[in-house]
Amino acid sequence: MNGSVEPVLEVQGLKKHFPVTRGMALQRTVGWVRAVNDVSFSIPPGETLSLVGESGAGKTTVAKSVLLLEEPSEGKLLFHGKDVMAFGRSELKDYRSNVQAVFQDPWGSMNPRMRVKTIVAEPLVVNTRLSKNEIRQKVLDLLRQVGLRPDQAELYPHEFSGGQRQRIAVARALALNPQLVVLDEPVSALDVSIRAQIMNLLKDIQTTYGLSYLMIAHNLATVRYMSHAVAIMYLGEIVEYADGDELFERPLHPYTKALLSAALATDPDARNDEIVLSGEMPSPINPPKGCHFHPRCPFAMDVCREVAPAVTYVGSKHKVSCHLYSEGSTHQ
């Protein structure tokens, strides 16, 4: 992979802590929900990074922070190397145009009272000074690119199927020619036979426009098909990070291995090292001491209970946070 190309987006040490308050009038902070705790990654142009994890892992919070829907408690967001937090109004506007999103729920992501043409046109209306005619042309062009017909622009969202709505959502996301699109579970709410259509559409658009994607997904097969790099999150932290196939061929972290074994292959004869974890993901308010994963980890050692593991590089692009792989460890 070309490590010398400047990434479109770089996240450094991102933390998002939500206060837990008590009291009605004078609210005291009694604790913190550490939704995101020191997350770092970068996305090169034209590539897809997937954030994988179960609910409570913090991936949605990361996505929202990238979209500036949440303000980070700590950490940096670098857009082409420049600090987003230090942006002035016009630079922020520029950032916003360049970072768009497609959400999971094709039913809730569109205003049910607006026609499709208005929905897709809105980003242009709000952000550009194009004439009505120019906007109209652009909208029809976008709809065509996602496989919809011009006469469908007059319809309302509820007149389309789920898969078609996701296409509309993609069209809207492309309106401002963004460089990065955040995909939050883009196909999980769709029928299986439609998923492939939408995944192919997303890939084709990525190739055509050189788009980067930050994708949140839980289905590992989807992740493998779409991604160039994968980060596995657990309780607010990235526990393993690797390039596309590497993660699936050589998973290192016990949680990654458990996720892979839980990901049911569509093959009745598939034999995987069945790692069935016990217990559930703990609450992010009171994470376990040391390595957050140790209570459920089949390989937990004494050190895991006490000390949080540091990031270890295995190979040039494969990172893992686990005592099993830290320097000096005899396990391999």
Binding site: E54, V192, S193, A196, G244, A262, L264, A265
Partner: protein, 338 residues
Amino acid sequence: MQPGQPLLQVEDLRTYFYTRRGVVKAVDGVSFSLAPGETLGIVGESGSGKTITSLSLLRLVPQPAGKIVGGRILFEGVDLLQLSEAEMREYRGSKISMILQDPMASLNPVYSIGEQVAEPLRQHQRLSGRKLWDQVTEALRLLRIPSPRERLRNYPHQMSGGMRQRVVGGIAISCRPKLIIADEPTTALDATIQAQYLAHLKDLQRETNVAMIFVSHDMGVIARVCDRVAVMYAGTIVETAAVRELFKNPKHPYTIGLLNSMPRLDRKTERLASIEGQPPALLNLPPGCRFAPRCYAAIDRCHAEDPPRVDVSGDHFATCWRVDAHREEDAAIPSVVS
């Protein structure tokens, strides 16, 4: 019931919905059978009719719009569709139970879990006192809920999603039914919890020999859990086979398309083949095979006449004109790329 007789035999089941816009033939001629202790998977997407099929088995189709208009449901030789409502109630919860998708909606938030597991026991077996609570504890133990006796007084909101779904399983198994219908029971659960839950269901089956009908859209879950599979599309079953046979040797173009459109976990997929179009709206269906508009192998006959159910080999059936025509020649329809 005689030995060798299937536990459940569904023949030509038809459930229609009468709406202002017309008749929706949600289930239109569905037939399958289930042996004692067996797990049958019903796979389908939205509009396939899989959920309505499972509701029809218990005669819980939403009324007044929905009606079971034809067919027979033979459970241990008795046609459930001929029973009175009172007689049917005897079956529900005691001989046949159901697990639904959302555990939070299936459990009543104001009753303890012990109470809820006890309810079918009270209703059907008239148990009370010590005997009742022993059975309740046993039901929870069967679902591997740790320290069941201490948890009897817990409320649903005090438990996690996976735990709640196990309580729902406990309610289903409490009267030791012969059949449990599970409708997407793991869809709302996280991946690792799902794996746990399915493992527990398998344990449960081993211990009690209960038969299961597993309704899902997730082929991976079906592959893991089921002995046989029925694939549904737009209200009809398009293919039925033993699970291994279905995945290795699918015959119906829909099944083939479905399997081809799923990305693989074990290796990189270059390009996914997708099925064109979308599942049809069930109003005003065109004549002929319901899958024909999207089928890459469709011929003229497919658009005109309903295809017959073809015996591919022993226990493997497919409802398709192309399969009928080329029963001997496997080369006719392109199969799974493996």
